[in-house]
């Protein structure tokens, strides 16, 4: 009888282990398939299949004695997640990712805390390595949770997008870090210090919020990317605690992805990650030569009718979308306009800056939503050589990514950031809500260029008017 029971238990744990291995492989293949738009959807589904397999296999674990808590929790979580995922606007994708990321961080922290409490109650000695993993998992998960919530608040405009700064901020953060280090040491050195662990959890929650508050709304994509990689790391750490290698693999894959994207984005802005995190960029204190210049500079306004004529009689048009397009939900209108132009024989392309929008690749998603084929979207390196032969560039709600100061003015705070060279085109039409500044809070010389015409107003409204005028042009 005992032998039989052993054999069953053995079979069960082998089945779990095998499922976990397959799941890890599916995650890797899924990510591999994400490298081309043609196979990406399949890739995501492979990863989802790996996830399903892993979760079902976990139910076989002998540690699980009560299924009800899991079933009810899963049902509630799945309902919430699926509801938001189905209903969210594509323009709100950055805050959606931030929110889901925060939930993952919270899960990692709670698992670490619970695991410590369980070990402490049973009087089992976890081993120093496991205790360090618990401490780090709690800290990183908690920071990711509140950090993501603040990032969500800033992007959703519940909180002000401006960097929040107050006296002694750095001193406070330093104090929180020191407290966390001390508490972490107490937990690892002692045995069953549950009070210290709760204090650590609370302090890390506070640190997460404090860490993101002083960062400007424009830098949130980088922050989300960092927090994403942190949650991956926290998940990997719980893998150390639970001795589950599949968790380690999945968590590290996410960590690597987040790290790479973070570096790519800060390179695209020509800033260091440290500058993004601690520079309080866009706080309105930057004084570039653009703002210091007191000679009044003229701008030339244009009308929807004139814009329509300029576009209708152009041979080539390049559209440069920016965050203004997302805010105005103008992706469908811009696509309609482009289709009408193509019918007239005008060549239309889109130029996508790597950090246009509020997330890397955000513009691609929005334009894909409007059925723009992805082979019509050009990346910065592909398109920059073409501007000199372009008749009209239509800038829709982009600002800093087309500011020639980044290329020409060494005193500008964004100097060195790679930009789209739209000022090389024959004509430039800028659709903009007002003469307000971009994320960087600096003047844009492009708007005063003699080749530039400004069309003020909400991007969708302006584009609709241009489209109507085009029909009679």
């Amino acid at each position: 009888m005992t032998m039989r029971a052993n054999a069953v238990a053995d079979l069960r744990s082998s089945a779990i282990a095998a499922s976990y291995i397959v799941a890890a492989v599916l995650f890797i293949f899924g990510l591999k398939r994400l490298s081309s738009p043609a196979t990406a959807r399949q890739g995501n589904r492979l990863a989802a299949a790996g996830m399903t397999l892993a979760l079902v296999a976990t139910l076989l674990d002998r540690q699980i004695v009560s299924f009800w808590t899991i079933a009810i929790g899963m049902a509630i979580g799945a309902a919430i997640g699926t509801y938001f995922a189905r209903t969210v606007q594509m323009t709100a994708m950055p805050q959606m990712v931030a929110l889901f990321n925060g939930m993952g961080g919270a899960t990692a922290a709670l698992v670490s805390v619970a695991e410590y409490l369980r070990l402490a109650r049973n009087g089992a000695d976890a081993g120093a390595g496991e205790e360090i993993s618990i401490v780090l998992g709690t800290i990183i998960g908690a920071v990711s949770f509140t950090g993501s919530l603040v990032a969500f608040g800033k992007l959703q405009e519940i909180l002000s997008g401006k960097p929040l700064q107050f006296p002694l901020q750095k001193a406070l953060n330093g104090f929180l870090l020191a407290a966390i280090a001390l508490l972490g040491f107490v937990i690892v050195a002692g045995t069953g210090e549950t009070a210290a662990l709760w204090a650590l959890f609370a302090t890390a929650l506070l640190l997460g919020a404090m860490f993101v508050l002083p960062i400007g709304g424009g830098d949130m994509p980088v922050v989300i990317s960092i927090l994403n990689s942190l949650t991956g790391l926290a998940a990997a750490l719980t893998g150390f605690v639970l001795h589950n290698q599949m968790l380690v693999v999945a968590g590290v894959l996410v960590g690597a992805s987040g790290t790479l994207l973070t570096l790519l984005m800060s390179n695209a802005m020509n800033r260091s990650v440290a500058n993004v995190l601690f520079g309080a960029f866009g706080s309105g204190l930057v004084a570039g030569s653009g703002t210091a210049d007191d000679t009044p500079r003229s701008i030339r306004q244009t009308t929807a009718e004139d814009t329509a004529i300029a576009l209708a009689y152009a041979r080539s048009v390049v559209i440069v979308p920016g965050y203004g397009l997302a805010v105005a939900e103008a992706q469908h209108t811009v696509r309609e306009l482009a289709t009408d132009l193509e019918k007239r024989g005008v060549s239309v392309k889109y130029a996508i800056h790597p950090v246009a929008g509020r997330m890397p690749g955000h513009m691609n998603v929005l334009l894909a939503e409007a059925n723009v084929p992805y082979d019509q979207l050009l990346e910065m390196e592909q398109v920059n050589g073409e501007f000199a032969q372009t008749d009209v560039v239509l800038v829709v709600g982009a600002n800093d990514v087309v500011n020639p100061a980044a290329r020409d003015d060494p005193s500008s705070p964004i100097y060195g950031m790679p930009i789209l060279d739209v000022d090389k085109a024959r004509n430039i039409i800028v659709l903009k809500r007002s003469m307000g500044h971009g994320f960087a809070g600096i003047e844009n010389a492009l708007f005063h260029h003699e080749k530039t015409r400004m069309l003020f107003g909400d991007a969708r409204k302006s584009l609709t008017e241009v489209g109507q005028s085009l029909k009679s042009a």
């Binding site: 995501n44 979580g77 995922a85 889901f100 968590g251 059925n371």
Partner: protein, 102 residues
Amino acid sequence: MSVELVLGVYVFILAMFVGFEVIARVPSVLHTPLMSATNAIHGIVVLGAMLVAGGADTPLLKTLGFIAVVFGAANVFGGFVVTDRMLEMFRKRDDDEGKRGG
């Protein structure tokens, strides 16, 4: 350090190399879906939450496990569904004609 932990560290390092290799090839067109898909993948930590919730022997552990399962499941399901919604929209010029305006 336990043998299992040492093994974990090996896996950690190797997975890091695999991750960098695989992800470096993803073009910037797909960076938003990539972020969202990896976001769903780290929801795997819900597995730990299931073990906590299913094996809890005190009300406190049960509560912690339950909250963790809810959060983790929202992360997993929401992440995969929203990524699928995004990727569904990516198509080439040839195959978009039939689905225009949809």
